[in-house]
């Protein structure tokens, strides 16, 4: 048995807002798995997509400061949101390659730049640090019979060579985690396609079109539900699903779970601890039908 796992935790803005159930289920799951999780005190926004589109120094500085704050807490940094994960890793990558930028950032944040800390997405923690074997041992309600379409979206593995989470274009890490908790995963075509992300506000038409293709593909592959590891993907697939069904006159009824919700279910957490009530597409009928509640 390895020693107890311990992480510092960077929830990111979405998890304190629209993705509250992701935050809740993460904390509850880690508690249940006896993995230490300490929220980084005084963390703030990573800058997400807007910052690096406007000002590179700003976006690097925001992440660098957060990394510096996180370094004061024991353990590797656990990140839930795919965008935060991508930005934090990109920052480490860019700053380790450019001394000029490193000096600029150091000046801007008035603190040392931390380049050697390990930034880990929750998927990595479950699939690698804890590992499928130990994860399987914690399961008391295997998700057998549940067919899940694992949706990676854009930023978990991209840009190339930055997150280093898994194979950039054909990853399997989500499937690996779900297999360990007894679920069935489907092979489908749109697992890596963009959902439109934050164009959801400025160009909703584009998002509806892209998201429809994703849901259509998942349904065609015979999935009962979709699993995501990013609050923006979740927003588009879950919140907009009703609207899409209206626009395209289709009926998907595909609940969109966070990774931590499905794994949490398998280790025996109840709906109240997983925030299932906050989901727009009600998952309860499906879970009851599969005997998982």
């Amino acid at each position: 048995m390895k020693e107890k796992l311990n992480y510092s935790y960077y929830p990111g803005c979405s998890l304190h807002a629209s993705a509250g159930e992701y935050d809740l289920s993460t904390r509850e799951l880690f508690k249940k798995l006896k993995i230490g999780l300490t929220e980084v005190p005084d963390w703030f926004c990573c800058g997400a997509t807007p910052a690096h589109n406007v000002d590179e120094l700003l976006s690097l500085s925001l992440c660098a400061k957060n990394l510096e704050l996180a370094d004061k807490v024991e353990g590797d940094l656990a990140v839930a949101c795919a965008a935060c994960f991508s930005r934090l890793k990109t920052t480490q990558n860019v700053l380790s390659e450019s001394e000029v930028k490193r000096k600029q950032v150091e000046k801007a944040i008035d603190a040392p730049v931390i380049l050697d800390s390990h930034v880990k997405h929750l998927l990595e923690i479950l699939a690698r640090d804890l590992g499928p074997e130990r994860l399987a041992q914690s399961v008391n309600k295997p998700l057998s019979g549940l067919k899940v379409a694992c949706y990676y979206g854009c930023l978990l593995t991209r840009p190339t060579d930055v997150p280093n989470l898994d194979c950039v274009e054909a990853p399997t890490i989500m499937e690996d985690v779900l297999k360990a908790v007894g679920a069935e995963t489907v092979a489908w075509t749109h697992r890596m396609e963009c959902c439109g992300a934050n164009f959801t506000l400025s160009r909703p038409g584009v998002v509806i079109q892209l998201t429809n293709a994703i849901l259509d593909s998942a349904k065609a592959a015979g999935a009962d539900c979709v699993m995501v590891a990013c609050p923006l993907c979740h927003g588009n697939l879950d919140i907009r699903q009703k609207e899409i069904e209206g626009v395209y006159s289709v009926n998907y009824n595909l609940p969109v779970f966070y990774l931590t919700q499905l794994v949490g279910l398998a280790v025996g957490l109840g709906p109240d601890k997983l925030g299932l009530a906050a989901m727009m597409v009600n998952p309860l009928p499906l879970l009851k039908e599969k005997g998982l509640l």
């Binding site: 190339t160 060579d161 194979c167 950039v168 274009e169 054909a170 075509t189 890596m192 396609e193």
Partner: protein, 665 residues
Amino acid sequence: MSRIGVFVCHCGENISRTVDVERVAAQVGKLPGVAFATDYKYMCSDPGQNLLKKAIIEQKLSHVVVAACSPRMHERTFRKAVESAGINPFLCEMANIREHCSWVHENREEATVKAIEIVGMMVERVKKNRVLPTITVPVTKRSLVIGGGIAGIQAALDIADCGHEVVLVEREPSIGGHMAQLSETFPTLDCSQCIMTPKMVDVANHPKIKLYSYSEIELVEGYIGNFQVTIRKKARSVDEDKCTGCGLCMEKCPIKKIPSKFDCNLGMRTAIYVPFPQAVPNTPVIDRENCTKFKTGKCGLCQKVCGPGAVDYEQEDRLIVEPVGAIVVATGFDLYTINEKPKGSMIKGYGEFGHGKIPDVIDGMTFERLASASGPTGGKILRPSDGKEPKQIVFIQCIGSRAREKGISYCSKVCCMYTAKHTMLYHHKVHDGQAYVFFMDARTPGKSYDEFWRRSIEEEEAVYIRGMVSRLYQKGDKIVVMGSDIAVGVQVEIEADMVVLATAIQPQKGADTLAQKLGISYDKYNFYSEAHAKLRPVECATAGIYLAGACQGPKDIPDTVSQASAAAAKVMTLFAKDQLEREPIVARVREAGCVGCFYCKKVCPYGAVEEKEIRDRQGNLIRVVAYVNPGVCGGCGTCQATCPSKSVELDGYTDEQIVAMIEAL
């Protein structure tokens, strides 16, 4: 007392820009033993060399130091010049004040001081130089050619036509290589088999070529002019001398459903087989893994039907030693495997393209077999999944090539041309079909190449889309190709019936292992390295070993044939002399000091150290000492560093010389 001449070169401005060459000459001229010192703009030029020769005669010089570029560049030049003026060439040394000084420094004062020190060191060193006699070794005028593709065949034929014996070793049961698999060839669309098979027959019939098919290189020993090569002749289970090639055994073999590697798994073969009907030699081989006789002990049908009694289940691998003087390596290429991504490999796969999962996503070589008149479909373009003719076909270039994120940064050079050819072959066979090509750049340098490419667009109606494809997926019986057209800036989706991926060229599997056996160098992709990218493109840095074809880098057929003939010419240059002269930079044993511990023998990478018995006049053994065979010694100096009694010294690099250099600092 030595009379040393020092000649300081400006190298145009390469040295004089940073180093005060006049001051260097003036300073060094004051050193004890230096009789003459001067500087000149281009020492390596004709007037520069004449200045050197004149000074040697007029000043009665005994040793020479040329302070100029790296000895790798011009040591040979100056030693030759010195020799023509009557001094032993090994009494001339070069002080490298260009690569080691002027090119890497900016401060003129410091660089000048450093240059003076470098030259001073070489002055002290040259004082200790000894006259060394040139070593000659005999040349075995036979050559080994490794690989029986078009490169190996061309090299073997050229050498053999000059009257020298060639040992040609091919790993597969037949020679022919990849070229034998191709349908028609660019830029003339002549049939590959039609131009290839006559050459294969020439090899088989040539009295000077000894062909070992289904054989591999086991061990390579020796050195230029005198290699000993051990060849493993794998058990074919058919006696080549008895077999008449009638084919009855293959007709009767009950195991008929083994996917044929030659046909890219589209066709089937029997357990006793020749890879293709035009195979050379036309002798079948038994695939022991799939043969019922070898698996269960039963069957034996092929042996029963064989008239001449050639089938021999007891045959074993044989090891054969062949002495040769030169080696041509022509091991060719392999195609990038689209999905394979071994853990930890620097090269990654394209899982997102569904190759191997979607049956109608194929690679370029598979398309060649479909288009080939002798292929599994008789030259009809048919989908592997349902045998239907594809009406919309998409070709995607640069699969693996130029994709740094997948681990390969080089261009595979042939794909633009063969994809253009594929669109033409397709258009010739499917008149109502439409071909699309996704490409990054069209690279068509070569005689009549760009015209050929233009033809595919202008006359054969291929639609070229500049951009890459992100994903392929099956939708019903169509394959959806999701890509981008960067010229227009839009996303493109095509519903195709078949997709052909132009995969990167990689060296053959095991190229690195063979290189280690041969002692030649290779790059990070396992392509073999030439001695000089521009001026010695077919020679290896290891003397006596030459390169031909795609084992050195991606190449098309014309380039491969040219390089193969060039390699043959280099072999002929070597064979033009009966004796080889080689540099006398070899280790020598001082027998009086040698205690016979043979540590030197253990560390010698060339196997040059032998045991020598010292006997008195009555023939009684007194002791055993080490002896370095000067023909084999590579001059690395490892023995010198190892010898506990300091009894081995490398000529030209003795301890005395090195210590003198250090003391001069």
